[in-house]
């Protein structure tokens, strides 16, 4: 490998820990914290998938008696809906791609020895872990988990007598979300400070890998959005436990007049969705960064229009705070407001389309290496387009109002926010696993995993669009008594079978993960022949990432096929070749 530029840096902020507890449990090392977050995301995704399996079973077989669980009652179904959404949105889609991969790779990719505030970093993980325990704990308290959906709409969510899961379970849910906000804010603080202040010499903002841009922008989104959700959660918990009336109007529950009056459920909706729509981008922006990286590496071409991707992501971040009202078209909002929110929502399709074209152009005429991460990267683009095209439908009030409470929305957001983001996460995991662990994952198992998941995702979520267009409402636990829905039961059965096969396919991933941890082929320092800085250091990296040295960056992050270079790629720290972006 060619000589690369490094300079010495000062002492690392903290010494390498020796004991197991300090090294692997209460670690200050960003790499360990990143892996802890990733592991939390993996555990959470399997919990979330198990809940979705129970939901799918109940939908097509409502009177089934399950081993250990018995019959799923309608209220239990709603609890499953709530906790599936909560766990997947917060503890998987928000946690794994940002806090997991970001923590692991961001400092190394910018040439820093660690995050800016390692203690806060450790705290943010453990607070997030506590939040996860609090959420899962809701299943085990009297009354069980809450029924109010992951969006927690009042008055249902605030009144303790409104359902069996709305007592202690709903409190634990609210505490979980509040704790999650605190953890996410501490994480965002670290990401922003680290990126802005700890880049290696030569690593200008426009030389950062697109992953770093995505993590930075996601952190900014989180910084602005989670504070609002935290405020909403505080009001939520006060309404529930102190008797205030921020969100609850006068009304009766089960024939009894409540002690609340004057509050506004819409106030919650505004606060929640002011967070909630940026949350969609908090979930998917890191995956956009990851797959931009992966597509360039495996097509052996510079990413198409680096600046175009950066500015598109910036535009998305800006617009994401102006569109929350499109989640509330059915709330009776003024048509003028609806029109404004509709326009801003439609406007997001422009940067999204630019991104898609950049990814496709990156692949175009590339010497594509169809590795597992590359397949997941290409799969992401496919799902992003398929899930995205239904967005402009829902952006129009006239179409959203009939479709809003149907499976059309379920299919839309699962494809674009759920599965597309998951493909980014899986692509990232297959991509960085060799660097994290020092061993390669099995390519054959990985490819089988990809095809089952890819075909399965379409088989599950495309039919949901048709269910929605046929007027099939979402959230209902049992529909066998409704005449016009009876004809749609075969579609529901098909979706359930597809879900079973797809989830079973994830066992291939677990087998691959466990097998590769111990038996995988030893990975070299740069097994993918990538150019960014994490691939210049040892595999796995030392405690301070670069063995007491700091990289000096001389090139852009995606220098492939450079004329005159000895290989088809030039490392960011390689001074031997002057490139277009390495001024």
């Amino acid at each position: 490998m060619a000589t690369q530029e490094f300079a010495a840096h000062g002492t690392h902020a903290h010494a390498a820990p020796q004991g197991f507890i300090r090294k692997w449990i209460f670690s200050l090392d960003h790499k360990v914290i990143g892996m802890q977050y990733t592991l939390l995301g993996i555990v959470a995704v399997f919990v979330g998938m198990f809940l979705s399996l129970l939901m799918r079973l109940h939908l097509v077989w409502p009177s089934a008696v399950l081993p250990f669980l018995g019959e799923i009652k309608p209220e239990t179904y709603l609890s499953l809906v709530t906790m599936h959404g909560t766990i997947m949105v917060f503890f998987v889609l928000t946690t794994a791609p940002q806090a997991g991969f970001g923590n692991y790779a961001l400092p190394i990719q910018i040439g820093a020895p660690d995050m800016a505030f390692p203690v806060l970093n450790m705290l943010s993980f453990w607070i997030t872990f506590l939040a996860f325990l609090s959420a899962v704990g809701a299943f085990f308290v009297t009354g069980g988990a809450p029924l109010h959906g992951w969006t927690g709409y009042p008055p249902l969510s605030v009144l303790q007598s409104s359902g069996p899961g709305e007592a202690a379970g709903a409190d634990l849910w609210g505490i979980s979300i509040a704790l999650f906000c605190v953890g996410a804010l501490l994480g965002a603080l670290n990401f922003i400070t680290t990126t802005l202040d700890m880049r290696a010499r030569g690593m200008s903002l426009m030389r950062m890998p697109l992953t770093c841009w995505a993590w930075l922008l996601t952190a900014i989104l989180g910084l602005l959005a989670f504070g609002v959700l935290l405020a909403a959660c505080i009001l939520f918990l006060l309404d529930r436990n102190i008797g205030t009336s921020f969100f609850v109007p006068l009304g009766t529950i089960n024939g009894v007049v409540t002690a609340h009056k004057g509050g506004s459920p819409l106030l919650w909706q505004h606060l929640f969705w002011f967070f909630g729509h940026p949350e969609v981008y908090i979930a998917i922006l890191p995956s956009m960064g990851i797959i931009s990286q992966i597509l360039s590496v495996f097509s052996r071409k510079p990413v198409f229009s680096y600046k175009g991707i950066v500015y598109s992501m910036l535009t998305i971040v800006g617009l994401s705070f102006t569109v929350w009202g499109h989640h509330m078209f059915v709330s009776g909002m003024s048509p003028y407001s609806g029109y404004a929110f509709s326009i801003t929502t439609m406007a997001i399709t422009v940067p999204s389309a630019v991104l898609t074209f950049c990814w496709l152009a990156t692949l175009w005429r590339g010497k594509i290496r169809f590795t597992t991460p590359a397949l997941f990267g290409i799969g992401f683009v496919s799902l992003f387009v398929s899930g995205g095209v239904s967005g402009p439908f829902l952006a129009q009030p006239a179409l959203d109002i009939p479709l809003h409470d149907t499976y059309f929305v379920t299919g839309h957001f699962h494809l674009i926010m759920g599965v597309a983001s998951m493909f980014g996460i899986l692509g990232g995991l297959y991509y960085w696993f060799p660097k994290m662990i020092g061993r390669m994952m099995s390519e054959s198992l990985g490819k089988m995993h990809f095809w089952i998941t890819f075909v399965g995702a379409y088989a599950i979520f495309i039919p949901m669009h048709y269910l929605g267009l046929s007027g099939h409402p979402r959230r209902y636990s049992s529909l066998t008594e409704v005449g016009y829905l009876h004809d749609l039961i075969p579609v529901q059965r098909f979706i359930t079978i597809a879900a079973f096969i797809t989830i079973a396919g994830q066992l291939l991933f677990v087998v691959n993960l466990c097998w590769s941890l111990f038996k995988g082929k030893k990975a070299s320092d740069n097994p993918w022949e990538a150019t960014t800085i994490e691939w210049t250091t040892a595999t796995p990296p030392p405690h301070d990432n670069f063995g007491g040295l700091t990289p000096v960056v001389t090139n852009g992050p995606y220098e492939y096929g450079v004329p005159g270079a000895a290989r088809d790629y030039v490392m960011q720290t390689d001074p031997a070749v002057a490139t277009a972006t390495g001024d």
């Binding site: 965002a188 921020f246 004057g262 106030l267």
Partner: protein, 235 residues
């Protein structure tokens, strides 16, 4: 792994604790740490601002909402303005005074740091610990402010306004309580900074701690003035 063209390793910050020995690297190291800490603080106050902006929007929206009155079978306003306890004005003065105190402490420690960098000789005049009285004063005033807030809440309760009595009283407790929780964080930071002085920690470390705490404290003071104005004038 690639062969690395490394330069000689530089170890440590170049500043020994409290005895004035310094070098260029130490000054750069201090500047870097200070810049990073200030940036971190700037980022950290953003979500606090978002929290209070959210409360403010809720406050304004809730004021204008009618509620159904089953007695008269009509929509009525249930927003009953609450007369703020006058002790809040005294508390405001206390907090502003404490902000002045922490600023003096910050300037004192800056001078101390500058002297250490400028005069590395052990014979240089010592100014170590001169900021401690200002820090202690700020700490005491901070505690006094919190006690004053507690007194205000007791006065409100004594006049029949609890957290859930009316929407306006809910917001008074919410805004003042959330501010107090954040201020307690500042008090803890002041205590840690004062202890660092007592324990003669490195001047650069103390300087950064005091600097960050001071800016946070100023932010808390400005935030309090904003909350008071909101409660007093936006009803």
């Amino acid at each position: 792994m690639a062969s690395l063209a490394s330069t000689a390793a530089v170890t440590g910050s170049g500043i020994s604790v409290g005895n004035g020995i310094t070098d260029l690297h130490g000054r750069q190291d201090y500047a870097t740490r200070l810049r990073r800490a200030r940036l971190g603080l700037f980022v950290a106050v953003t979500p606090i601002l978002m929290l209070f902006i959210s409360f403010t929007s809720a406050y304004i929206v809730r004021q204008g909402l009618p509620t159904f009155d089953p007695g008269t079978n009509s929509l009525t306003r249930d927003w009953i303005p609450v007369h703020l306890p006058s002790i809040l004005l005294v508390n405001t003065c206390v907090l502003l005074l404490s902000s002045l105190g922490v600023e003096l402490a910050r300037r004192q420690i800056k001078k101390e740091t500058a002297l250490v960098f400028a005069a590395p000789s052990p014979a240089a005049p010592s100014v170590a610990g001169k900021g401690l009285p200002w820090l202690s004063m700020t700490l005491l005033l901070g505690l006094l402010f919190l006690f004053g807030q507690w007194t205000a809440w007791r006065q409100l309760a004594a006049s029949g306004f609890y957290v859930a009595t009316t929407p306006s009283s809910s917001f008074i407790y919410l805004l003042t309580g959330t501010h107090a929780i954040h201020l307690i964080g500042g008090v803890i930071a002041l205590f840690v900074a004062a202890m660092a002085s007592v324990l003669h920690r490195a001047v650069t470390t103390r300087s950064i701690m005091v600097d960050i705490t001071a800016w946070y404290w100023h932010f808390m003071a400005v935030l309090w003035v904003y909350i008071l104005c909101l409660l007093e004038f936006a009803s």
